[in-house]
């Protein structure tokens, strides 16, 4: 019983220490706020996601065309549209930066 209680107290102490570590390690932080993305950051992220989607789409179009899944006419039409989309996304990232 006594041993169990001592061990239980050790477990509880270790837990409290682990929970307190962020406060013990940084005695006086100047900055204690979670990094919240600004609106410009959110816009940049949205453009970056759109850019990645467009670039990935261009790769897929190329692959689907080479494997015969996409006709020449469809490929030409779609590749133009996605190049424009990628370019627009890249342009969007610059001002957001």
């Amino acid at each position: 019983m006594t041993v169990a209680l001592v061990l239980a107290a050790l477990v509880a102490t270790a837990a409290v220490l682990l929970v307190a570590v962020p406060f013990l390690r940084e005695p006086a932080p100047n900055e204690d706020t979670l990094p919240e993305p600004k609106d410009s950051g959110k816009r940049a992220l949205a453009h970056a996601e759109e850019r990645d989607r467009a670039l990935s789409a261009l790769k897929e179009l190329e692959f689907d065309h080479r494997t015969g899944k996409l006709s020449d006419a469809d490929y030409r039409e779609l590749v133009g549209a996605y190049r424009r989309r990628a370019a627009a996304a890249l342009q969007g990232i610059e001002p957001a930066k």
Binding site: M1, A4, L5, L7, A8, V11, A12, A14, A15, L18, V19, A20, V21, P22, F23, E26, P29, E31, D32, T33, L34, P35, E36, P37, G41, K42, A44, L45, A46, A48, E49, E50, D52, R53, S56, A57, E60, L61, F63, D64, R66, T67, G68, K69, L70, S71, A73, D74, L78, I93, K97
Partner: protein
């Protein structure tokens, strides 16, 4: 030591409450150190839960019957392996395993993502904490594994059906799957709470979902094999509610893994993906509720328990809360992107999703209907195999076909000419296979013939995809290496085909014979002759084994001697059926021999089943695991691209 276990669980509960309350406060007020502290509470909860688990495991190994749980689930004669597996053989131990796995997953998710996505982790911690609070509370207040008593001389032992090596792997894998679905749920809810509807939560949880989904899939196949070799009825899946409980979240997670690709590639289906994550998690809770509440009369529900109302209440709270959250964030989740064509890869994914969810909900209705019927009308109704088989055919066969069609269609749109060119070989091969099978007599079962034909179509598609892709890229390893998820997915599709072949073969084209035989007598089935020779009795570690010697012949040739029988367990005072299996590798079929009733005079009522292609189901498990590992393997190029993307947002 029970005091230590109880205290450790109290500490876990306190830490989980801290992670929930303080974590939510920290996320709301954007306090970084407080948020880190809440995350650390989950790490500490893992430590204290591990201490509780170690106490229980030690008691099980020492056969310390002063622990009521140990006395109820082990005996001194129980082999060590099964004493360990008794940890999850009962309700209290299973809940402890849930909490242990949950805190382990939560700790790993926090450690991996807290620097990459601190704002997302900040809101995910209270969600993970809230789930941990529920399970820790159950263990502390409702169903403790540390109840003590005056130690009896001997324990009750473990149910004989659970005394199988699969008991060491099947339940832990299912728990890894069930509990693993908490991580995508927590991050999905965390993203909604934070108002972050970008793809970061999907990127952060993709692998967690894959791990949970793989564990659930492999766990179910191990369970099926366990049922096949151990339960002694010659089947592997009985549509038991508890079996269905594992299948439903797996189906929902399968739908999510497909539809999430549409969000990544096209920015569509944001609401749908969140709903699928909620569905998968709620179904995993529902699965635990079914297994542990004793609400359904099933082979797995060994104990009636007071857990039911708590679980049901928690499931209702989680469902209502998460749906309210989705509704609140609906304006942020709406997207402008639309489907460009109904004949495109993304459209095929959408159809696949609808079929998977329809199958999942149909099974859910089959499981829930008897309970609702009893609750509302006071009548006990059962939903049997014909119901499930009908819907498996209705949704499963089109799903199988879609697995072949999807990869042949281009993303975004496809012209009829391209489609025709892509389909000609797989369709030709499928038709040829169908005609040959028809000529060989496979027309005796229309669903079986359709399943075989569709399987040939899908396999041809997969092979062609690899061949065409290798030609286009120039190297097989580069092809797979550059798109592990796609080609890992194709390998998983191949495993589903093997599964379909195994299920169709053993179900639609199997043969059965039953007869009472005395020593020297024979029965014949599907070209085999089985002759009963003698009956013997052996003593095992904790049981008496009765075994019949049966010669299996084909024509004049003796192909095997098998020994079906029964085990009588002393401590448990139960009898188990021990089926004997002869695998004929050349003919790709199993001969299952069951000694159903053993009469005192030595006559035995035998049941013999011949199951063609049944072993493909187990092979499918290995192929499934291989495909999942390919899909899971880290892709350094993708990680660099994602790191650059998120660095841009932070800058």
């Amino acid at each position: 030591m029970a005091d230590l276990g109880r205290a450790a669980l109290f500490v876990s509960l306190g830490l989980a409450v801290y992670a929930t309350v303080v974590g939510a406060w920290a996320a709301r007020t954007h306090k970084r150190r407080l948020s880190d502290s809440a995350g650390n509470a989950l790490l500490a909860a893992l430590g204290s839960t591990a201490v509780a688990a170690a106490v229980l495991l030690s008691a099980l190994l020492r056969h310390d019957f002063s622990f009521a749980y140990v006395a109820q689930h082990t005996s001194t004669e129980l082999p060590t392996g099964y004493s360990i597996s008794a940890f999850w053989g009962g309700q209290e131990g299973s809940l402890l395993l849930w909490l242990l796995v949950l805190t382990a997953y939560a700790s790993a998710a926090v450690l991996i993502n807290r620097r990459r996505a601190p704002d997302l982790v900040a809101w995910s911690v209270p969600v993970l904490g809230a789930v941990a609070v529920f399970f820790a509370f159950m263990l502390v207040a409702v169903s403790s594994p540390f109840e003590t008593q005056t130690a009896p001389i001997e324990g009750a032992g473990l149910n004989p059906s659970l005394q199988n090596p699969y008991m060491l792997a099947h339940p832990p894998l299912l728990y890894l799957g069930y509990v693993g679905l908490t991580v995508p749920f927590a991050f999905g809810m965390g993203a909604l709470l934070a108002g972050r509807t970008d793809e970061r939560w999907i990127v952060a949880t993709r692998r967690w979902t894959l791990v949970a989904w793989t564990a659930l899939g492999v766990g179910q196949l191990l369970g099926a094999h366990w049922a096949y070799v151990e339960v002694g009825w010659g089947g592997y899946y009985a549509w038991d509610p508890v079996e269905n409980a594992a299948l439903m979240p797996w189906l929902a997670a399968t739908a999510f893994l497909h539809s999430v690709m549409i969000q990544e590639k096209r920015g569509m289906l944001k609401v749908w993906n969140v709903l699928l994550v909620i569905l998968a998690f709620c179904l995993s809770l529902f699965g635990t509720f079914l297994t542990r509440s004793g609400v359904v009369n099933s082979i797995h529900s060994f104990t009636e328990s007071p857990l039911g109302p708590w679980f049901l209440g928690f499931i209702c709270v989680v469902t209502a809360g998460s749906l309210a959250l989705v509704f609140w964030r609906l304006p942020l989740l709406r997207t402008k992107t639309r489907l460009e064509s109904l004949v495109s890869r993304e459209a095929a994914f959408l159809y696949n999703n609808l079929l998977l969810v329809a199958l999942c909900l149909t099974i859910l209705w089959g499981v829930a209907f008897p309970m609702l019927s009893e609750l509302v009308r006071g009548e006990t109704r059962t939903v049997g195999r014909p119901y499930y088989d009908f819907f498996l055919r209705t949704f499963g066969l089109p799903l199988l076909l879609l697995m072949g069609i999807g990869p042949l269609i281009a993303w975004r749109r496809a012209s009829l000419r391209s489609l025709g060119r892509m389909f000609v070989w797989p369709a030709g091969i499928a038709v040829a296979v169908g005609v040959v099978l028809l000529a060989l007599g496979a027309g005796s079962s229309t669903p079986g013939l359709v399943a075989y034909t569709f399987s040939a179509f899908v396999l041809a598609t997969i092979v062609l995809e690899f061949v065409r892709g290798t030609r286009a890229v120039g190297s097989f390893t580069q092809l797979v290496g550059r798109n592990r998820r796609r080609y890992g997915g194709y390998i998983v599709h191949a495993s589903v085909v093997l599964l379909a072949l195994g299920v169709a073969g053993s179900g639609a084209y199997g043969s059965t014979a039953e007869r009472k035989l005395s020593p020297g007598q024979s029965l014949s089935v599907a070209g085999y002759t089985l002759t009963y020779r003698s009956l013997s009795q052996q003593r095992g570690a904790n049981h008496i084994a009765l075994r019949a010697a049966v010669d299996v012949s084909r024509g004049d040739k003796l192909v095997a001697r098998v020994q079906p029988g029964k085990n009588r367990y002393f401590a448990e005072q139960q009898v188990s059926n021990e089926m004997a299996i002869h695998t004929d590798w050349l003919r790709a079929e199993d001969v299952d021999v069951i000694a159903d009733q053993i009469n005192p005079g030595g006559a035995i009522y035998f049941k013999v089943l011949v199951k063609p292609l049944v072993n493909l189901i187990w092979v499918a498990g290995l192929v499934f695991l291989a495909g999942a590992l390919v899909a899971l393997w880290p892709d350094a190029r993708e990680q660099r691209r994602l790191a650059a993307r998120y660095a841009l947002a932070e800058a």
